[in-house]
């Protein structure tokens, strides 16, 4: 452990490195946000420089880890689609009513190109859907969705 991490009154993370300099506004970033969220987390300075590389959160003391986990939870926003309730039309742009792990919402699909297959071996059936505002929605296993959702999805694939 060559660094300490704390949260200041502005809610920002402060990192004090081995040489004693404090950095305000630390941003933790996962290196493989979707395919391997637990491997490799970098602590970045406010101007985007890597200050600390953490290979695994498990090696950290409890308080540091919970700070990082809490901050990550505040920054990461990839709602996972559990169910496609309805779509406004099969021609794009189309408004999808979806149920996600973060609650029900609507997304606007600008074109079929915004649905991307993740070509990773561990997530062969995963899809990443970018909506018109740039939010990425994840479907972790498209064959694991219910029949109704799969039927809708098929029209766009």
């Amino acid at each position: 452990m060559t660094f300490t991490l704390s949260r200041n009154s502005f809610g920002r993370l402060v990192l004090v490195g081995a040489n004693g300099t404090a950095h305000d506004g630390i941003v933790p970033v996962r290196a493989f946000g979707i395919t391997a969220p637990d491997y490799g987390i970098a602590l970045m300075s406010a101007d985007g420089k890597e200050l600390q590389w953490i290979e695994s959160l498990d090696t950290l003391p409890e308080d540091t880890r919970s700070l990082i986990v809490a901050e990550l939870a505040q920054r990461e926003f990839v709602p996972e689609i559990r169910r496609i309730i309805s779509v406004s039309s099969y021609a794009t742009p189309s408004t999808w009513q979806v149920d996600t792990d973060r609650g029900e919402t609507a997304l606007i699909l600008k074109s079929e190109d915004d649905i991307r297959r993740l070509r990773s071996t561990s997530y062969a059936n995963a899809l990443l859907i970018a909506d018109s505002q740039g939010i990425h929605f994840l479907i972790r296993d498209r064959l694991g969705l219910d029949a109704h959702s799969q039927k809708i999805l098929k029209r766009f694939l």
Partner: protein
């Protein structure tokens, strides 16, 4: 309209309950995320004295009185916007929303600042500034929430009604269209004559003959003559209407294409930045063609079919209403069944389209990158990818073919069943002496005609949807208003001397501020070098000077005239642009040099080429100045292409010259040649040069050092070196890199 009028009803009761009687609601922001980033509605409101917001549960409300020390800041990350309320001691509250609400959040923040300053100073707030669309920078009407331009393209699914808008292009051909319609009517009527003539042929000739009456040759001649005559008439009329309508629809298609292209060329640089080339090509090329085919083929056929069914029904009912009723009853059922099958097929065909796109995308990926594929010996893997895409294609096709192969026989079967019903009821009627055999035969002749048309009619729904989608994509382009609008009353530009005044210019790209308060006066004939890290806003500044974008705040003036009041083409004639990646059009070298001045004489072209140090290598080409160069000038080296583009800029003799990394793509020796070509170009012109290699900017009168959208230093090389600031650091970093390449350790890795 005040803020309390527009407040969504769901919040009204709760919010108004916590307001004091004389408290006035100024603004509100509806949130769609809670603090844990779950989708949950929330509200933050601004009154004339405090900020009020829904708490952790929607029932409790928190509030903060406005005071001078409060600040509201926003930032965004991965599609989520955050609004933070802070005072000197720390953060008081935080609100989250998806980026779609970002314009509203920015507005809310502006209102907050106005209101806070007013509370702090005791003065009434200043009048609101004019809002602009955060995406395209167009000025918004006071009552507009979002820019109609940007919202429409994103959110509206294609509607079949879009097709009606094509009327705008059809109007000039009104006369031909009416003629075409009348011809269609006549031609359809003519095709309905032959079955009618079978009636007397049967009842008055054949059946009496079977009963012993001899055939009357005169009557037969008349009837057969009638059959031939109506066939000939139908042929002539059909030819005329198909020809006229095809002519018209071709012209409508061509008008649509040229209008769209002309409009597209007028759109701003920004529009092209956000669109893929392939997509635009498809819109202008194949989409217009699809609409064309829809008009000339599908719509025409459909209209003919409808006319035929209406006319046939009228004839049938006039002959025998009962038989007509029985004949027509199965029709809707059959039509519905055909439609059902078609619907299944349509999704299948759509899927095939997409799978096909997947197959081609493998090709599009691999062929341009074939050097990489070969270098890393990944041919087998790419072949495997292609094989898999093809396998997927086969699977989808097989599934579809199963239904497809069933389709034609099914339509046949349904038709036969329909005819069977007519036979059965007809025989029964004949046996009751209600109708003659001739009538039954005529009915069967009519009915078999339009049963076969049902299939093609059922297709109209999907082709209409496709054409409507195409029309929408085209009208998206046509409806897009350029974010760099032409002035209504353009100022005629006096001959420019080349002075540019950049006055407190800020620029936002989307929600991201790229330039902040840039202030710079450039004298005529001066050379300015723009220096800074990538992303510091150099290219954006140059794009603003070229007026590829309009400034968000402030103004750029040439000789005292605001750029926005000058006709764009007029102004750009004064600008010579040399880019990092010189673009050569397909054509001869001479044509490429004369691109900005098509009427240039040969002597002018040669002079420009000489000055650009391009003359000699051009003469080494097989046909000299008439040598063809490809789309990207394949046969020429990077430095040669660059010198042609310098000659192109020289030929129009611009007052303002912009060099955007003009020498960074070539080696040092070529750079030297280009540099001396550039020296000819720069002489006597206002020049703004961006260069990565600082050594190329030695000749600049002033260097402007930019960092994160701000000017941090201005001065010449010596002065900036002496002050040991940002420029000095950049320069040190570069010379260190050049003088001392990192030494390699024994194992080949950097030590």
């Amino acid at each position: 309209m005040t803020a309390s009028d527009t407040l969504p009803e769901a919040w009204q009761a709760e919010l108004f309950a916590c307001l004091a009687p004389d408290e006035q609601l100024i603004a509100w922001l509806e949130l769609d995320l809670d603090d844990h980033l779950d989708f949950r509605p929330g509200l933050v409101a601004l009154s004339d004295r405090r900020l009020i917001t829904t708490g952790a549960s929607n029932l409790s409300w928190n509030n903060w009185p406005l005071s001078a020390g409060l600040t509201l800041t926003h930032h965004d990350n991965a599609g989520v916007g955050t609004l933070e309320l802070e005072n000197a001691q720390g953060r008081l509250a935080r609100w989250r929303y998806t980026l779609g609400r970002s314009p509203a959040a920015l507005r809310f923040e502006r209102e907050f600042v106005r209101q806070r300053d007013s509370v702090a100073s005791g003065q009434p707030p200043p009048p609101p500034s004019v809002a602009t669309c955060p995406i395209c920078q167009m000025q918004l009407q006071p009552d507009e929430e979002d820019c109609p331009n940007c919202v429409r393209e994103l959110h509206t699914p294609p509607s079949t009604w879009t097709l009606l808008r094509i009327w705008r292009f059809a109007r000039p051909y009104k006369g031909q269209l009416i003629a075409g319609f009348l011809l269609t009517l006549a031609a359809t009527a003519a095709t309905l004559v032959p079955p009618y003539l079978t009636m007397p042929l049967m009842d008055d000739v054949l059946i009496p003959y079977q009963n012993g009456t001899p055939i009357d040759p005169n009557k037969v001649a008349w009837l057969l003559g009638g059959l031939l005559g109506s066939a000939l008439l139908a042929w002539a009329l059909n030819w005329a209407r198909t020809y006229i309508l095809a002519l018209v629809s071709e012209r409508i298609g061509a008008d649509l294409r040229t209008t769209t292209y002309e409009h597209l060329l007028k759109l701003s640089h920004e529009y092209f930045g956000g669109k893929r080339t392939g997509d635009l090509l498809a819109r202008i090329g194949s989409e217009t063609d699809r609409i064309n085919v829809f008009l000339s083929l599908h719509l025409l056929d459909f209209a003919t079919d409808v006319l035929m069914i209406v006319m046939t029904s009228v004839i049938l009912f006039s002959i025998n209403p009962w038989l007509a009723l029985v004949t027509l009853t199965p029709l809707p059922i059959i039509a519905w069944m055909i439609h059902l099958v078609r619907d299944k097929l349509r999704t299948g065909f759509e899927q095939i389209d997409r799978v096909w796109a997947e197959v081609t995308s493998v090709l599009a990926d691999t062929i341009p990158g074939v050097r990489v594929v070969k270098a890393f010996a990944q041919e087998a893997r790419e072949a495997q990818r292609f094989r898999e895409a093809n396998k997927h294609n086969l699977e989808v096709n097989d599934r579809l073919n199963r239904i497809w192969s069933l389709f034609a026989p099914t339509v046949g079967l349904l038709t036969e069943i329909g005819i069977l019903v007519v036979w059965a009821f007809g025989i029964w009627l004949v046996s009751k002496d209600q109708i003659t055999v001739g009538v039954l035969i005529a009915f069967l002749a009519y009915i078999s005609r339009f049963y076969t048309r049902l299939d093609s009619m059922s297709r109209i729904i999907s082709v209409t949807q496709k054409a409507a989608a195409g029309a929408k994509r085209i009208f998206d382009i046509l409806d897009h208003v350029s974010s760099v609008p032409e002035p209504v009353n353009p100022v005629t530009l006096p001959p420019l001397k080349g002075g540019i005044h950049i006055d407190k210019v800020s620029f936002r790209y989307g929600n991201r501020a790229v330039l902040h308060g840039i202030d710079l006066k450039i004298a005529p004939g001066e050379m300015i070098g723009l220096v800074g890290h990538s992303g510091s806003g150099k290219s954006t500044l140059v794009n603003l000077i070229c007026r590829f974008y309009d400034v968000t705040e402030g103004a750029i003036r040439v000789e005292g005239t605001d750029l926005r009041s000058i006709a764009i083409a007029d102004y750009r004639r004064n600008i010579g642009l040399v880019l990092q990646e010189p673009f050569l059009f397909f054509g001869t070298i001479a044509e490429n040099i004369a691109y900005g001045k098509p009427d240039a004489t040969r002597a002018e072209i040669v002079a420009a080429a000489r000055a650009a140090h391009a003359h000699e290598f051009i003469l080494r080409q097989p046909h000299g100045y008439d040598s063809l160069v490809g789309e990207r000038g394949q046969s020429l080296s990077g430095g040669e292409r660059q010198r042609i583009s310098i000659a192109r800029a020289l030929l129009i003799d611009p007052r303002i010259l912009i060099l955007d990394e003009a020498t960074s793509a070539v080696d040092t020796e070529t750079e030297f040649e280009i540099q001396s070509a550039l020296n000819n170009l720069i002489r006597g012109r206002t020049t703004i040069a961006i260069a990565h290699r600082l050594s190329t900017l030695r000749r600049a009168d002033r260097l402007v050092v930019m960092d994160r959208g701000r000017i941090v230093e201005i001065g010449n090389h010596e002065a900036l070196m002496a002050s040991a600031g940002a420029y000095w650091r950049l320069y040190q970093a570069q010379t260190k890199q050049l003088d001392a390449p990192p030494a390699l350790g024994e194992d080949g890795s950097p030590s």
